[in-house]
């Protein structure tokens, strides 16, 4: 096995990740990539307490994760790579070799436009997602395994051609 899901989810570790994906895919580790959480022992403990004892949780800053992803990809267990924002995942695509990106949950914010029930995107985030695709990544939105994946091209308008 390897990293079987590379997910952007602003709730980070929560029910959909641990139960919705974790149980059917027999996930044994989660790599949580978030600069703020990587600095906070308290938040790390919070997320560890939210996972079953047989599911390891590892924490990295984005810089550290870029170097660590190849190692996790070679892990014999099934794992989930998780970021809370699009920009962090873009770095893992560009510098860590991630090729399949799951948009699992990006919720409402005033500067974002709703694209799906669980996906709201700002113009900047849409631009970052286009860069992922341009770099060769497949980007789809899917909150839980039972849902039908939605290709990024169905979510956002094509970038306006420059004059």
């Amino acid at each position: 096995m390897t990293l079987i899901l590379n997910r952007v989810d602003d709730r980070l570790i929560h029910g959909q990740v641990v139960v919705g994906w974790g149980q059917p895919l027999d996930v044994r580790f989660i790599v949580l990539v978030d600069d703020e959480v990587a600095r906070s022992d308290w938040e790390q403990e919070l997320y560890r307490m939210g996972t079953p004892p047989d599911m390891e949780v590892l924490f990295h800053s984005v810089d550290d994760a870029v170097r660590a992803v190849p190692r996790y990809r070679a892990d014999e267990r099934a794992g989930i790579l998780l970021t809370g924002d699009v920009a962090s995942m873009l770095r893992l695509v560009l510098e860590g070799g991630v090729r399949d990106v799951n948009i699992g949950g990006i919720h409402h914010r005033p500067d974002r436009k709703q694209r799906l029930r669980y996906v709201f995107l700002s113009p900047d985030e849409e631009s970052l997602l286009r860069r992922m695709v341009a770099a060769g990544a497949t980007v789809t939105a899917r909150d839980v395994p039972a849902a039908t994946p939605v290709d990024l091209r169905e979510l956002i308008e094509p970038e306006a051609a420059s004059a």
């Binding site: 709730r11 929560h14 029910g15 139960v19 307490m49 939210g50 409402h108 029930r117 669980y118």
Partner: protein, 131 residues
């Protein structure tokens, strides 16, 4: 109009909280003791703010959530941080909430402990070769 005042927040996925509170109302007429919150379509930050505001607005110190790994529990734990006066009960079920609404002679904290014990022991497995 009900004279039952809110004593706790119930937070969960989908219609979990509203459903449980509806069931408490149907059985006891005391559903107004709870403020239901759904995690549906909220970011982690918005969910935490919603739980915090609901507890502050209702003046309650107890929150029940559905799932240990769930976003409501994560949000509630962040609200509880540094607040020894607040109580979180994870894994809420109907017997637990019914026990809580009838424990109105106790402090909310004691009622939450009592309800937790009741909820833990309220499950049963019947049939299927159960021994």
């Amino acid at each position: 109009m009900s004279d039952i005042r809110p004593r706790a927040v119930v937070a969960g996925h989908g219609d979990f909280a509203a459903g449980l509170v509806s069931a408490v109302q149907q059985i006891t007429g005391r559903g107004a003791a709870f403020v239901p919150i759904s995690a549906r379509d909220l970011s982690a930050a918005d969910l935490e703010a919603t739980v915090r505001k609901a507890m502050n607005d209702a003046g309650v110190s107890v929150v029940f959530t559905d799932l240990q790994a769930g976003s409501c529990t994560m949000a509630a734990r962040k609200v509880l941080r540094g607040r020894e006066d607040l109580v979180l009960v994870v894994g809420a079920n109907l017997p637990m909430l019914i026990d809580f609404v009838f424990a109105d002679a106790m402090s909310p904290t004691d009622a939450a402990r009592h309800a937790y014990e009741r909820g833990r022991t309220a499950m049963a497995l019947i049939g299927g070769g159960a021994r």
